[in-house]
């Protein structure tokens, strides 16, 4: 779950990480009020998208009137298809230098990794590899001072800035670990006369660990259907084709999508309903898919824990209930295949034994429409 900048900064503050003074507002008038106490301000759209600056979602104001005007303008924007509902009005920092600092999860070493660079303020993708210092952290001892000293040496930082980084970085590590973050990125980390300040906060919390952080608000960054799928515990991604796809297992679902594309079709979605689902859950997955009004339905089941008869039963039930009548391409093999096949064929559905045949037919059906 991605956190809005203002929420990330609120949490930073709780972990002793300095952030600019500021306020979250939802209207131009509130923005003017907030600016009154802050002098020169920066007004930042609160959307879960990078590159807000380039899109015009970040602005400056030197007095409340200007702040009102700029806030009004930004509140009418859409940034990368996202509506701007809130703004963060903050004191404008006097920045001497901009650093980049992040903690992320490194899949290769299976450890948290510090990413640090002197090239703060620019897109992290544009920072040359050799100017980005990477430091995996041994979780058995955590991020110790010596490691930060060595990171500073590799960055070429010494003196008082080094000492500030030594006191700053372990706090971000604490935050990262305690909050189950996947990513805690500060870009830029501002060097000011008052010390280091997190001028931005890009934080993603591990969805699988949200149960340990009930205090966090639920943040919607998904479509309504994706949200519904989340509630059902289904892995669902909306795409822009016309062949609705359902399979059991992430890998085989991806492979099914790939094969549809390979034969010239366009997938409408990714839907993995997992292994070993019962009739109800399978039916729910199917109903979710039908709610997208697809042109063709492609079901690909390789039954291991998943039982073919259960899938067939769910399909028959849903069809009886909803009475849908679109071309269906059904592949069904594995556990209890015979029973499942019989149930489907009784209702006139042709069952394929191979993925290739099922996909080919689905693509042809879509083309024929």
């Amino acid at each position: 779950m991605k956190l809005y900048e203002y929420l990330g900064k609120k949490l930073f503050r709780e972990y002793g990480i300095p952030v600019p003074r500021g306020k979250v507002v939802a209207s131009a008038e509130e923005a003017a009020e907030a600016a009154a106490g802050l002098g020169e301000v920066v007004i930042k759209s609160q959307v879960l998208s990078g590159k807000r600056g380039k899109a015009g979602g970040i602005s400056f104001a030197s007095n409340p009137d200007q702040a009102r005007e700029e806030a009004g303008r930004i509140l009418q924007m859409e940034i990368n298809d996202l509506v701007v509902e809130k703004l963060l009005v903050e004191e404008k920092l006097k920045i001497e230098q901009e650093l980049y600092l992040a903690l992320a999860v490194d899949c290769s070493t299976k450890l948290p990794i510090v990413l640090a660079s002197l090239d703060g303020g620019m897109d992290v993708e544009d920072v040359p590899e050799e100017r980005m210092i990477k430091w995996p952290v041994d979780v058995s001892i955590g991020l110790q001072d010596y490691a930060v000293r060595e990171i500073c040496r590799q960055l070429g930082v010494s003196g008082s800035l080094k000492n500030e980084i030594i006191s700053f970085m372990p706090k971000l590590y604490q935050f990262f670990r305690a909050m189950d973050a996947e990513l805690a990125e500060i870009n830029p980390l501002a060097v000011t006369a008052q010390g280091l300040v997190a001028a931005d906060a890009k934080v993603t919390i591990d969805d699988d660990a949200i149960f340990r952080h009930r205090e966090l608000p639920k943040i919607k960054e998904k479509t309504a259907l994706e949200m519904r799928a989340d509630e059902l515990g289904l892995a669902y991604v909306e795409l822009d084709g016309n062949i609705a796809i359902m399979a059991n297992g992430a890998g085989i679902t991806m492979a099914t999508l790939d094969m549809v594309q390979h034969f010239g079709g366009k997938p409408a979605n990714f839907l993995d309903f997992g292994g070993g689902a019962d009739v109800d859950r399978t039916a729910q997955a199917l109903e979710l898919l039908l709610a997208t009004n697809p042109k063709v339905l492609l079901i690909n089941i390789f039954g291991g824990i998943t039982r073919c008869d259960v899938v067939a039963e769910a399909f028959v039930k849903v069809r009886e209930r909803k009475g849908f009548n679109l071309p269906v391409s059904f592949r069904l093999v594995g556990t209890n295949e015979t029973e499942g096949r019989a149930m489907l064929e009784k209702t006139g559905i042709k069952v394929f034994s191979t993925m290739d045949d099922a996909v080919r037919q689905a693509v042809e059906a879509a083309r024929a429409l």
């Binding site: 999860v105 899949c107 290769s108 299976k110 450890l111 948290p112 992290v124 993708e125 041994d138 979780v139 058995s140 670990r177 189950d180 996947e182 591990d206 699988d208 660990a209 149960f211 340990r212 892995a235 991604v237 795409l239 399979a247 059991n248 297992g249 992430a250 890998g251 085989i252 679902t253 991806m254 492979a255 999508l257 790939d258 094969m259 549809v260 594309q261 390979h262 997938p267 990714f270 993995d272 292994g275 070993g276 390789f302 039954g303 291991g304 824990i305 998943t306 093999v333 594995g334 556990t335 191979t354 993925m355 290739d356």
Partner: protein, 288 residues
């Protein structure tokens, strides 16, 4: 010879009294796995499928020493159970659960390294020494002995491909599921190394997907250290960037982990990459 496990491997089942745990205990016993005990706190003294249940892994290890353990424990409690197994001396730990928190997975991996243990998963179907020992949840019938070593990030897709092999009378030595999460214990490289050293494995099948850099790292390793033919299939060619495709690890982020990049790396390393799952069999036959 098989890698990691063999018919003598003594196995514990953690969470044996649960629905999944008891069902798969039966399946594993049917396959021939030497399950010596189960663990379920507060249920010591019971039996599941004839297997004695203990309160703690330490108790099980005292009474029925084991080398491997398979974990059927709800994700929020998996960390504790995994650390217990490792602390009690388990050297091969198979983590079935999906949705184990990332930081928990990192803790488990660090402790496993400390203890010199191998972790398979999380979010894996497990591993099987075909015909001898299965520590996992894959359907028994597709895993028959033969000359092909298989290593996969995904489950059903792996069954699909191994199923094709089986239909074509081609069996497997060992099939290892790495798991679909971002932080997993075994990587392709670890398993490739074992297959290279295993005299019974003649061809290696690598089943990967988008996200992460495991396939690229595998490609580098294959170029440098694998003499046996490797055939690959990768899922996710059609996946849009920034979206998680079911597996926590299957996501293209910041331009990294793309399908094309992985195919290019593997092809450069001499790996034959199949365009469709069904083509893997032919590529194997050509390679042998």
């Amino acid at each position: 010879m098989a890698i990691y496990i063999n018919k003598k491997t003594r196995v514990l089942v953690q969470g044996i009294t649960g629905k999944q745990g008891s069902f798969h205990t039966g399946q594993m016993l049917d396959y021939g796995t030497h399950i010596v005990g189960g663990v379920s706190p507060g249920k010591g003294g019971q039996a599941v499928e004839g297997v004695p249940v203990f309160d703690t892994v330490f108790e099980a290890m005292e009474k029925e020493p084991a080398e491997a353990s398979i974990l059927f424990i709800p994700a929020p409690f998996a960390r504790d159970a995994a650390l217990e197994a490792l602390d009690a001396g388990i050297k091969l730990l198979v983590l079935i659960p999906e949705h184990i928190p990332l930081h928990d997975a990192m803790d488990i991996m660090a402790f496993a390294k400390h203890k010199g243990a191998v972790v398979v998963g999380p979010n894996t179907f497990g591993l099987v020494s075909s015909g001898y020992c299965k520590i996992g949840i894959m359907p028994n019938k597709y895993f028959i002995p033969g000359p092909v070593g298989v290593v996969s990030r995904s489950g059903t897709l792996c069954y699909e491909i191994v199923g094709h092999l089986t239909v074509n009378q081609t069996g497997t030595t060992t099939v290892v599921g790495l798991g679909g999460d971002r932080v997993v214990g075994l990587h392709f490289i670890d398993v490739l190394k074992q297959f290279e050293a295993d005299p019974e494995t003649r061809v290696i099948v690598l089943i990967g997907e988008i996200g992460g850099s495991a396939e690229e790292e595998a490609a580098d390793f294959i170029a440098g250290g694998i003499s046996k033919p490797v055939v690959a299939y990768l899922a996710g060619k059609s996946a849009p960037p920034g979206k998680r495709m079911g597996h926590a690890g299957a996501i293209i982020e910041r331009g990294k982990g793309t399908f094309d990049g992985k195919v290019k790396s593997l092809t450069t390393a001499g790996v034959k990459v199949a365009a469709l799952p069904g083509q893997v069999v032919r590529l194997i036959q050509e390679a042998m």
